[in-house]
């Protein structure tokens, strides 16, 4: 392959390198590369340069928090709902221990009898209710046993229903406080972002206003000059002949 041909096909090789330009150019380049080792090596080198170029990325601009897509009350609502759910969870979990009458369980599962397949079994509503009652009774017995063992260990029976311990309430309080702090931090970060955004917008608006004012100034100046010129002409035309 002559150097002249290689030189002449350089543009086509660039088209192939960037997959841009006419299809015919790229086809010519492919055909040439298939025959010319020197150009194949150069093509690989140029691809390598392109790969290196790809490592240079723009610096990350000062991060501006994305626009809030959910209203603030929703976040607060979630936190409150989570707190409430947690509270209910604690209370519900505790009720079995607190009250001699076991409450209806939140969820129930029907366990397959031993020796049967572990696949999901479909049962009638009555069977399900019975299974629930049986499980309820089993849990009540377990709770009762636990209570008795607690009484024996402490040496005295509890006077009444046990309250949720102060420790749990404090932990719940702490969690709520942490959640509130997180919300506050997120809100402040958003505020900073908004402030930056506003500053940029303000600078841009000021520049636009300045450009507009400059334009108006130039127009006003030209108008004033023209008016003055007209007035002078008017005065000259209307002046008495002896005054001219």
């Amino acid at each position: 392959m002559t150097a002249l041909t290689c030189e002449a096909l350089r543009d086509d090789i660039i088209s192939l390198l960037y997959d841009d330009g006419e299809l015919a150019e790229r086809s010519r380049a492919r055909e040439h590369l298939a025959q010319c080792v020197a150009c194949r090596i150069e093509y690989a080198d140029l691809k390598g340069v392109r790969k290196s170029l790809g490592t240079w990325s723009l610096p990350v601009p000062a991060e501006i928090a994305p626009a809030r897509t959910t209203p603030k009350w929703l976040h607060t609502g979630f936190a409150a709902a989570a707190g409430l759910a947690l509270g209910i969870g604690i209370t519900t979990a505790g009720r079995g221990l607190l009250s001699p009458v076991a409450p209806a369980p939140q969820t129930a599962s029907v366990t397959a009898p031993a020796g049967t397949s572990s696949q999901t079994q479909y049962v009638s509503f009555e069977q399900f209710q019975e299974a629930l009652k049986a499980q309820d009774a089993r849990h009540s017995q377990e709770i009762e046993r636990l209570r008795q063992s607690l009484v024996q260990n402490s040496g005295s029976a509890p006077a009444g229903p046990i309250r949720v311990s102060d420790g749990s309430a404090a932990a719940f309080e702490r969690m709520l406080r942490a959640s509130e702090e997180r919300q506050t931090r997120a809100f402040e970060a958003r505020l900073v972002g908004l402030r930056n955004e506003n500053d940029l917008q303000r600078q841009y608006d000021m520049a636009q206003v300045a450009a507009g004012l400059a334009y108006i100034d130039s127009r006003t100046g030209a108008d004033a000059a023209r008016t003055s010129e007209l007035m002078k002409n008017l005065v000259r035309v209307t002046a008495k002949p002896q005054d001219r």
Partner: protein, 201 residues
């Protein structure tokens, strides 16, 4: 006027020329990131990039009424920004944004695999070398490489932006890449790319 976000650049320019100033806001938000990136790469300075980008859009705002819609808005705004870059570089001629006397750390060879933290650190060193090498290119080559490699413009769009024939764009690109290869090789940066077989793609 339609929702500006759903309009093409051409429609936005038309709307602006018909007196809908809001159309310009959409053009600005659509293009300022790209323009700022291109300016930053040409100048190698983030502060100047912000100023020049702002100035470019200000000039575009002033000139958009008289803008003939034969050219694309994107080509036109790139053109304005690149002209401002050239002015800025001329003003700062003699001042280099890059210290050429920096101590030379060991430069690794790029290899193709998923990046580990070490690779990322090495990648950033390569990126720095690339940045320096680009700054060493002539203005003409640098502009073409930036518009093609980083802005993703087609040869035709670059030709329109720079007011050059497509063949000149390709020649500048080729020469720029060859120079980049030499600069990078001197800095010890080589990218391992396999030589294509006879069925090059």
């Amino acid at each position: 006027m339609l929702n500006p976000a759903q309009m093409s650049d051409e429609q936005l320019v038309e709307a602006f020329q018909a007196g809908h100033l809001a159309a310009y806001d959409e053009l600005v938000s659509r293009w300022q990131g790209k323009i700022r990136g291109a300016v930053w790469r040409v100048l190698g300075s983030t502060e100047d990039a912000a100023d020049i980008t702002q100035e470019a859009f200000l000039r575009a705002f002033r000139g958009l009424k008289a803008f003939k819609r034969e050219a694309k808005f994107s080509s036109w705004i790139y053109q304005i920004a690149l002209n401002l870059c050239r002015d800025a570089l001329r003003r700062k001629k003699g001042k280099s944004y890059v210290s050429l006397d920096e101590p030379e750390p060991e430069i690794p060879t790029l290899v193709s695999k998923s990046p580990s933290p070490l690779d990322r650190s090495e990648g950033s060193q390569v990126a720095e070398r690339v940045r320096q090498a680009i700054q060493k290119l002539s203005e003409e080559q640098r502009e073409v490489i930036i518009l093609k490699e980083y802005e993703g413009l087609t040869f035709a769009e670059i030709a329109e932006t720079l007011g050059l024939p497509t063949s000149t764009v390709k020649t500048r690109l080729y020469r720029g890449l060859v120079e980049m290869k030499q600069h990078l090789a001197r800095e010890g940066v080589t990218s391992a790319m396999s030589i294509p077989d006879s069925n090059a793609s």
